[in-house]
Amino acid sequence: MIGNTVLTSILSMAGLGLFFASVLAVVNQKLKVKEDPRVEGIEGALPGLNCGACGFASCRQYAEALAKEEISPDQCKAGGEEVINRLSEILNIKIEKKIKQVAVLHCGADESARKKKAIYRGVKTCLAAHNMFGGEVSCAYGCLGYADCVKACPFDAIKMVNGLPKIDKYKCVACGKCVASCPRNLITLEKIDSRDFIYVACNNLDKGPETRKACSVGCIACGLCQKLTGGIFYVENNLARVRYDKAKNIANTEEVINKCPTKCIVNEKPKSNGG
C-alpha cells in the first residue's frame, strides 16, 4: 500500500514536472527575445561610469546601440583609447586612430593678476557671479574663480591653483562637462597631437588698451605672435588664436612665448613640468 502511494507520488510529480517543462519550452521558443550576445561583452568592456559623454544615459544603452551598429565605437570618452580598441575588437570594426582631445582654459589671470572692480558677496558660484554684473572681476571675459568647472568634472581632472582652474590633461577625457559649466565659455575642447601644447590663455575681445585696464595678462592683440610664426598664430576680433592643427610646426616656440608682451601664450608642457 505504502509502496503504491510512493509510486503514484513519484509518477504524478514527474508527470507534472514534465508537463510544465514542455509548456515552458514551447513558450520560450514563442517569446524568444532576440538579444545580441555581444551586448554583455560590450558592456563589460565599457568603463561603467554612466557619465553620459557618449550621448546615452547609461553604458548599457550605449552598448545596445553599439551592438545594433547604429553608432561608432569611438564615442566613449571616459574609456579612452584602450576601450575603443577593445570595442573595435568585439565588434570587428576598424576605426581610425582618434586624436586625443583635451579641455583648455582660455584665461590666464589667477588671483594675483585679476583686477577687481567691486566687492562681491553673493552666492559663490561662477554662474551667480557672472549674472550679477560679472561679480568682482573687472574683465568681462575672464575666469571668475568660483570653480564651477571643478565641481562639474566627473574625473577629478581640474584643480584650483591660485584661484585659476588647472586642467590635468592626462586625467581629462574631453567629456565636455566643464565646457558646459563655464558661464563665460572659457573652456574649449582642443585636439592635441603634439606633446607640447601651445595656446592663448585669454578670451578678451576688447581692444588692447581696454584689455590692459582690466587685466595684466590679457591678450592685447599686438600681432607679434602672428609675425613670429608666419600665420600659425592669427589675430581675430582683438584676440590672438592658434591654428591647432599646425601648432606642431612652430619652430620658435620659446621665442613666441617670451616675446609676448603680456605673457598670455602658454605652453602646456608634458608631465615632467607639472603640466
Binding site: 503514484t8 507520488s9 510529480m13 514536472g17 510544465f20 515552458l24 517569446l31
Partner: protein, 193 residues
C-alpha cells in the same frame, strides 16, 4: 452570484492579502517606489494569481485527490507557480523591456511570493468551487495591486516631505505600511469569513 461578489470583495479589500494577512510584504516594500512600477508588478502578480488558482484547482481535484495524494499540494503548487512566473517573465521581457528592467529581481521573486502560495492553499482549505477559486484569485490580485499602488502613491508624495533623519528610508515605509494595515482593519467586520 452574490457569493462570488462577496469572495471578490473579501479577497480584494476586507481580507486583503497584503494588509490583513501580511502576505507578500517583500514586493510590497520593494516595488512601491513608483506608481507605474507598482501597477506593472500588480498586473503581473494578478495574472499569476488567477492562473495559479485555475491550474492548482484542476491539479488538486483531478490529480492529487484522485490518486489520494493531497499531501503533495505544497510541492505541486510551487511547481505550478514557478512555471507561471517564468512564462510571465518571458512575456514581459518580450513586450516591455523597460518594465522588465524596472521590476528587476522582484519579477522572478513572484515565485516565492507567499501571497500566491497562500492564495492556492486558502482556496483548497475553504473548499471553493472552480469558479469561486478563479474569482478569489482575481480578487486577491486586485487587492495586491491596490495595496501596492496606494503605497506607491504615498511614497511618491513622501519624497517631497521633510522626514526626521532616523525615520528616512525603510523606517517611514514600514510605519506607513502599518498605518495602512490598521486602516484596512477597519473593513474587518464587513464580511465575515
Amino acid at each position: 452570484m452574490i457569493n462570488l461578489t462577496l469572495i471578490f470583495i473579501a479577497a480584494a479589500i476586507t481580507h486583503n492579502f497584503v494588509l490583513t494577512y501580511f502576505l507578500g510584504i517583500c514586493p510590497f516594500i520593494g516595488v512601491s517606489k513608483r506608481i507605474e512600477q507598482a501597477v506593472g508588478m500588480g498586473i503581473a502578480t494578478t495574472f499569476v494569481m488567477t492562473l495559479a488558482a485555475c491550474v492548482t484547482w484542476i491539479i488538486y481535484h483531478f490529480i492529487l485527490i484522485r490518486f489520494g495524494l493531497p499531501f503533495l499540494q505544497y510541492a505541486s503548487f510551487i511547481i505550478v507557480i514557478a512555471s507561471l512566473v517564468q512564462i510571465v517573465e518571458m512575456f514581459i521581457r518580450k513586450v516591455s523591456p523597460a518594465l522588465y528592467r524596472a521590476l528587476g529581481i522582484y519579477l522572478p521573486l513572484i515565485t516565492t511570493n507567499c501571497a500566491i502560495l497562500g492564495l492556492t492553499l486558502f482556496m483548497i482549505l475553504r473548499k471553493y468551487t472552480f469558479l469561486e477559486g478563479v474569482v478569489f484569485g482575481v480578487g486577491a490580485g486586485c487587492g495586491f495591486t491596490l495595496a501596492l499602488v496606494i503605497m506607491a502613491g504615498i511614497r511618491e508624495e513622501l519624497e517631497c516631505c521633510d522626514i526626521p533623519k532616523p525615520l528616512q528610508g525603510a523606517g517611514i515605509t514600514l510605519i506607513i505600511a502599518g498605518m495602512l494595515a490598521l486602516s484596512f482593519m477597519g473593513f474587518g467586520g464587513l464580511i465575515s469569513r
